[in-house]
Symmetry: D2
Subunit: 135 residues, 4 copies
């Protein structure tokens, strides 16, 4: 996302002290949203879908929540911070739940192994963003 | 949403004790998501947009968060409940923040008056849904 | 969506001749988005998920496209009409594809039968909305 | 999006001949979705919002359509190709409309100048993806 950092810097009300964390968290959450979407689609295309139903289930929630988190952070002006904190908490939580489920299949499914990595990176980025919000 | 209750009832793993609350919360959040989208568009089409910038700002977050909340509740099977609780909390919070801001403009802007009503109805539905999740 | 018609009527730049069609299309698309989300979740919770993989696959695209269509229509001011036409075409198309796939399972899966009905109602509402846009 | 290419390669039903174009289009559309979201938020935080109302208006549609396009491409298995073609057409169209409007403000608003670049890059990526779908 070459243009993103430039966008955040030219914003008239920048996200103050959390600028670097915001940029990193948008990138991690946008990646995780798409990685989970690919993982759900890949699981649906495997031979034994029933064994992967829980993984698909969590991938879907994780993709939706990450997509919303990255979008909310991309609106740095005049936001309601307690709402953003609750969203970052929800996002870190579902990312870790999805990573744990993907771990179960990682040995046999390369897409689950990569997805777990992306989920953990996003959870950590959400934690850092939340910490940067604290006054 | 005439087909929605029927869908939730034919689900093989229904949302147990929270079935009625789930149906009501999906309807309230889906309505609020669209009402906030119309309100932001209406504010943008008014004469003095600067006076409505904070209202548009909250409408956008509220529309996105309500849209996600209604979708997550529409997936009753094997969900991660702490994630859903954090999402319902975020949704109720942004709905009340948006309603308060809309109240400021309700005397002169009919769309803000109606939007505040829809936001409060959604916040209450989220609270009832969250209470129904408690074991 | 009791507040929706009121919102569309109080918009300062209403959607002119397409007001009734817009209201009906938002309601049909919002319903279909949620019905397809429930159907995918219900299919994932059935015993033989592999037999339903194509149904889940189309449900996911249909839910996302319907959710976007209803949102775009909820912004009646100064829109780019060729973009909206292409979106309504995409929405009607995926709704009919999803309905056909759900028909295959409707005899044994009540949620697929209901979902096919909601998809067809949405496809028809998109066609009527697109026709109302023609100058 | 370091993990994305790896995910697309480990998918059991890869997007055949359009693999490189899919990866590039997801990245361009995901970037554009976030850049347009920042641009709308930045415009709302400027002094004279009324002068930027049309820009905000198109940014919102462009952000939503790009977010959906990137997600649909991230599901390479068993998709309905005419639906994807209509979506890519809608996405390229709104990106070019948004870029033209941003150009009007680019001299005075750095965020509009950067946004126009990201929109044009996404429109081109959608065109290349659509061309790669042709049998």
């Amino acid at each position: 996302m070459d243009h993103l950092a430039e966008m955040l810097q030219t914003h008239p009300h920048p996200a103050s002290s959390a600028g670097d964390e915001a940029n990193a968290c948008i990138e991690a959450a946008a990646e995780c949203a798409h990685v989970c979407t690919v993982c759900a689609d890949a699981c649906l295309a495997e031979g034994d879908v029933s064994a992967l139903a829980q993984c698909i289930r969590l991938n879907l929630d994780c993709a939706d929540i990450c997509a919303l988190a990255s979008r909310l952070i991309a609106r740095p002006s005049r936001r309601d911070e307690p709402t953003l904190e609750a969203m970052l908490q929800a996002c870190a939580r579902i990312c870790r739940a999805c990573a744990e489920e993907c771990d179960e299949h990682a040995e046999h499914m390369e897409h689950c192994r990569v997805c777990a990595e992306s989920c953990r990176a996003c959870a950590d980025a959400c934690d850092r963003m939340a910490a940067a919000l604290v006054p």
